[in-house]
Amino acid sequence: MPELSPEEWSALVLSLQVGAWSVAVGMPAAVATAWLLARIPFPGKALVDGLIHIPLVVPPVVVGYLLLLLLGRRGPVGAWLDAHFGISLAFTWQGAVIASTVMAFPLMVRAIRLSIEAIDPGLEAAARTLGAGRIRVLATITLPLAAPGLLAGAVLGFARSLGEFGATITFVSNIPGETRTMPLALYTFTQVPGGEPAALRLMILSLAVAFAALALSELMARRLRQRLGGGS
């Protein structure tokens, strides 16, 4: 493959950066939510479950617009953040991270929740009889046994971030070097005359990144399986 142009480099780096941050920001919350949903009975669980899944079922543009209304400079939360911390999310790469995280969150929660639900609650009960409090049970039994699900959740979240388009472009626009991730760059090239070769290159680059991420996750999953299931 020929050398990458500065625009392509910028889009690639930005995509990876947004994806990594989305996973980093989203995972702790996703783990906590998944654990609550899988293990703790509480009233209104179905409602919480439904709310979390909203980004999966409404058009991304709607989510992006909702984020703009809430977190934009004049939005209730955005104005507050701006006034007290001088933080502005709209039209910044941090805003792109927020958009990606919201879109990826239900996928992460789902993968983690399934793997926690697959753990025999008897093991956690046994740990409790052995004197372990809830935090210790979570840290030493539940999370290690859910590791494959944590990995799957992180990979799904990362992949979802790489592909995020609608919510991002609506919330933080399409600013080169700031919010123009690979899908946005690709879209931009298809909108200008003579942009097809560049769009094609970006498509191949996107595919390459996706395959690399999948291969890496498969390698890690194999390591985990060896550690969890592997005899002596």
Partner: protein, 373 residues
Amino acid sequence: MIHIDIRARLGRFALEAAFDVPTDGVTALFGRSGAGKTSILNAVAGLLQPTAGRIAIDDVTFFDSTARIDVPIPQRRLGVVFQDGRLFPHLTVRANLLYGAPRDPTLTAEPPSFDDVVALLGLSPLLDRRPPGLSGGERQRVAIGRALLMKPQALLMDEPLAALDGARKAEVLPMLAELRALRRVPIVYVSHQMDEVVRLADTLVLVSDGQIAAVGPVEDLTSRIDLRPLTGRHEAGAVLRGRVASIEPEWGLALIELGQQTFTVPATDLAVGQGLRVRIRARDVAIAVTPPSATSVLNALAGTIVNIAATDGPHVDIRISLLDGQHLWARITRKSAAALRLEEGCPVYALVKAGAIDRHSLGPPPGSEDEPA
């Protein structure tokens, strides 16, 4: 004293259990599957919350609905051995064993030590392995070790042998009998196997349909005919208590003293003077009205018939009071009973083939204080 007085509801199943048993020794909760044995054990462990009642061991109260006491599971310090072991698959055997080890140094210093547990249960070759690679017997041994090493106030065992085949059972059962030498704590043992109960337990709690049917020493309950439906028809029998009088190594036999009479069992790994319990199944006992001569049967115990319980089938169960006051059950055919004109008060000889007594029929005496503390 272990005090249990609880009511609980599990779906359509109602549990109502109240009994007191001595803390010194092994208490067996015995009954059919679904009788509520495990639920009682889980209530003690804190894994099941009773709707009302009280649970206490000596002066430690774990649950009291009127005083609003419900000690959280991790603070109960009760070592639970589950039927399925429940080892943590991602941890090595060593890490499993030490998972519940207390951090409090005074508790850490209490017996048994890590090395003692590893030695008794034969775990040293397994320490660096992980549970998925272990056999069923090995897993249960690790589970027992893990419960002991948390230095529990009591051991609660929920059919620890039920998932094992005969050979694995024979591997673990003798170790269970020796546990109390390592740590003198009350043991509550759930089982539906009478041979395990007789081998291990001192006190028997019969559980049936969510109720307690009877509580008492193992010998007493297993010889009561009214409890037969619960203690088991094929397992019908009695337990005799005696002391090892001598060993005959050339024959592989041991002579057990029962008052003035002796009883022969096939075993040599016993110490002279040691207390012993022998379970004798009713179907292994025959009756003679005159002293038998020229017979291969080694044991002929003199006694008197105290009652004859007819059953529906071709058999009768006959309770014989031996010279030293202990009781034995014999199951013979109605036809033989009629031919010999057996009736209450008849002096008879109870004939027991020594070969009918196996390793599983012998156990330590209740509250055995023979081993060094």
